[in-house]
Symmetry: C2
Subunit: 80 residues, 2 copies
């Protein structure tokens, strides 16, 4: 089973990487971009086959390591 | 219109960040993880309202800036 995890900055948290991308896109002539936010995308291969147990494990991984829940949100989906 | 872009390393390309996460998860007691790959998740706010033009613009942004197409793949979806 795979878990696809998205970790994104919470609204209101400054995103210097996103701002750097926005500025670089502007320099390249892409003027139609009004905002950029960058997050992380993490794909975990899990040995677990039970969906409920996998979900609990990935939630714990996100809380403990993958996301800084003070400033970041996480979302994940499990794919067989 | 928003564009949600996923940039991931191509298969076969070493992923030291993913390996670091895998090792850290092991140290935390999460033994059921067999592999980790880390990519980037970029959300673009676009002024463009025409879907076809937005798609062409985001493709160009990915090719020119967001992804290193030698070692990375990208995928994106447009959301109204």
């Amino acid at each position: 089973m795979k878990a696809k995890v998205h970790v994104t900055l919470k609204n209101g948290v400054l995103d210097p990487q996103g701002q750097a991308i926005l500025a670089a896109l502007g320099h390249l002539g892409f003027d139609g971009v009004t905002d950029v936010r960058q997050g992380r995308y993490i794909v975990l291969d899990l040995a677990e086959t039970d969906r409920a147990r996998a979900e609990a494990a990935v939630k714990a991984m996100c809380e403990k390591l993958l996301a800084n829940t003070v400033i970041e949100n996480y979302q994940f989906e499990l794919v067989p």
